[in-house]
């Protein structure tokens, strides 16, 4: 469904992505893991058109989306839930969700179907419905994360890019959010590309994973294999080095 071919991206003079290639099949959940600065966020932003690639090609549903502006990428069906939620803080929950459907309003889609989707978001996250008139900035981190996901869903995306949805959240909230991702895949067949610091939780949810280091893919494979991989365990799952050496 999505295929990155030899993507190279620069931040000014920093070579942030070096010949990155990866792919996602329809309905798959794939996770990118790696340390800070490995290029996980850059991959998402390159797909979304925020930091365009300087070389390489991105294909989505067999069409190239390489040099598109962010809004055009959303139009093709890829929505990003950015790092740090980035909700519109001075706007209400409802307004945030409405803006998620901005392109659908622009294409004169009927309000009825947009409101139906808003109700769907409310069934996924009942807490957002309780707070629909509240300003987004006054909510807790977990609620803002739910809103950020809800906002992305309002665009009716075929594919969801999630950047560190668990960051700074209580374990129970993280569980709730990961459950929703699982449910999205089952009910809507949404394809998900998930970037996570919490590698263990991400690999448990995902079908496959890619491990990144300083802008390169160093390892890829089925998630359960990566969970058992000694190198991954040592570097990202917080297992004791000694324990692995002694084996």
């Amino acid at each position: 469904m999505l295929r990155l071919k030899n993507i190279n991206t620069y931040y000014g003079k920093v070579h942030a992505l070096k010949n990155v290639s990866l792919h996602l099949g329809e309905g798959e959940i794939v996770t990118l893991i790696g340390a800070n600065g490995a290029g996980k966020t850059t991959i998402l932003n390159t797909i979304s058109g925020v930091t365009p690639a300087s070389a390489g090609e991105i294909l989505f549903c067999k069409e190239t989306v390489t040099a598109l502006q962010p809004d055009k990428v959303v139009q093709r069906g890829i929505s990003q839930v950015p790092e740090g939620r980035q909700v519109f803080k001075p706007l209400s929950v409802e307004d945030n969700l409405e803006l998620g459907a901005y392109l659908r309003y622009r294409s004169r889609e009927g309000k009825a179907s947009i409101h139906k989707d808003m109700d769907k978001v409310f069934t996924l996250f009942p807490r957002l419905e309780e707070r629909r008139k509240q300003l987004a900035g006054t909510m807790s981190g977990g609620e803002q994360q739910m809103l950020a996901i809800g906002r992305a869903l309002m665009a009716n995306p075929k594919m969801l890019l999630l950047d560190e949805p668990s960051m700074g959240l209580a374990p129970l909230v993280v569980q709730e959010i990961f459950r929703v991702l699982e449910r999205l895949r089952q009910e809507n067949g949404t394809t998900i590309l998930l970037v996570e610091q919490n590698a263990k939780a991400a690999l448990k949810l995902a079908d496959r994973g890619y491990v990144l280091e300083t802008g390169k893919v160093i390892l890829e494979g089925p998630a359960d294999e990566l969970l058992e991989n000694a190198e991954v365990k040592r570097a990202y799952l917080g297992k004791d080095k000694k324990e692995i050496w002694e084996r």
Binding site: V50, Q69, V74, F88, P90, L91, L99, Y102, L103
Partner: protein
């Protein structure tokens, strides 16, 4: 007697203040959508007034037709300004943008001088000039026009920014540009939109004030700075606080001119501007900028 005089100053101050408010909102809308302080804002005020004059005298249009015509042409100038001077910029750092808008304002003013000459012109008031008595003071019908039109524009703005998807999208751009792009809002289009709204509002301000103050190619400088001052008092909001900022400025200016000396009229505005910038840079009603982490 004294009270009547003060009432008089306050009333005329309110109508000049309304003009400052309109110009100030123009500044704020562009600033919020793009982070640019558009120092060419005052030139659209001048264009509104002078274009109305040309429509009346050269094209012999009636006033009701001349006004929309002048607004439309000023808006086209605003669009061209954004397209030719702002959008092509490779590295839009704040300092570059400020210099570009100042350059743009000098260019527009220079062209206006070539077209309309250096003379001061007058536009007839919208509905006669028989003074109306209010308490012990008198005001002109044009003052009422100014207050009414300003009020209507502010209400339209309110409806646009709070109750339409396009207005909400523009606010979203000002709160978080990157996130706005990621939900599918075309940020560049919104920038263009903000220039359209601001230049139209500037033109309206110029048109409604012209019958009172006369109009010439260089009125944009001072009116622009006063509008900027109103926006600063209002904390660069495109809503009520800038309106109040404009009204405060207008009234203080008028009181100062009347009670102290009319020679200090402009000085008062700039003293207020400096005081606000020194003491409360977030604006009179703004909260300190700590929540935007």
């Amino acid at each position: 007697m004294q009270f009547d005089q003060i009432l008089q100053y306050v009333l005329s101050g309110l109508s000049t203040g309304a003009i400052y408010a309109l110009i100030g909102i123009g500044f704020s809308i562009i600033y919020n959508a793009t982070g640019i302080i558009n120092f060419a804002q005052g030139e659209f005020v001048m264009l509104g007034g002078l274009l109305t004059l040309s429509c009346l005298e050269l094209l012999k249009l009636p006033l009701w037709a001349a006004i929309p015509c002048a607004i439309a042409v000023s808006t086209v100038v605003g669009i061209l300004f954004e397209r030719l001077a702002i959008r092509p910029l490779k590295q839009p750092t704040p300092i570059n943008l400020v210099i570009i808008t100042i350059g743009g304002s000098i260019l527009i003013r220079g062209l206006a001088m070539l077209v309309w000459g250096k003379d001061t012109h007058a536009i007839p008031p919208f509905s006669g000039d028989t003074p109306i008595a209010i308490g012990g003071a008198t005001i002109l019908p044009q003052h009422l026009w100014i207050l009414a039109i300003t009020l209507i524009i502010i209400l339209i703005n309110k409806v646009y920014f709070y109750h339409t998807i396009s207005g909400k999208a523009m606010r979203a751009c000002s709160y978080n540009r990157r996130a706005a792009g990621l939900v599918g809002i075309d940020v560049r289009r919104m920038v263009l939109f903000s220039f359209i709204i601001s230049s139209a509002m500037g033109a309206v301000a110029g048109i409604i004030v012209a019958p009172l103050t006369m109009i010439a190619y260089d009125v944009g400088v001072m009116l622009g700075l006063k509008g900027f001052c109103a926006a600063i008092i209002g904390g660069m909001s495109s809503g009520v606080s800038t309106v109040i900022g404009g009204l405060i400025l207008g009234v203080l200016e008028s009181l100062g001119a009347g009670l102290i000396s009319s020679g200090y009229k402009d000085a008062i505005a700039f003293i207020i501007l400096l005081l606000i910038l020194f003491i409360r840079p977030q604006g009179l009603f703004g909260k300190a900028d700590s929540e935007r982490v």
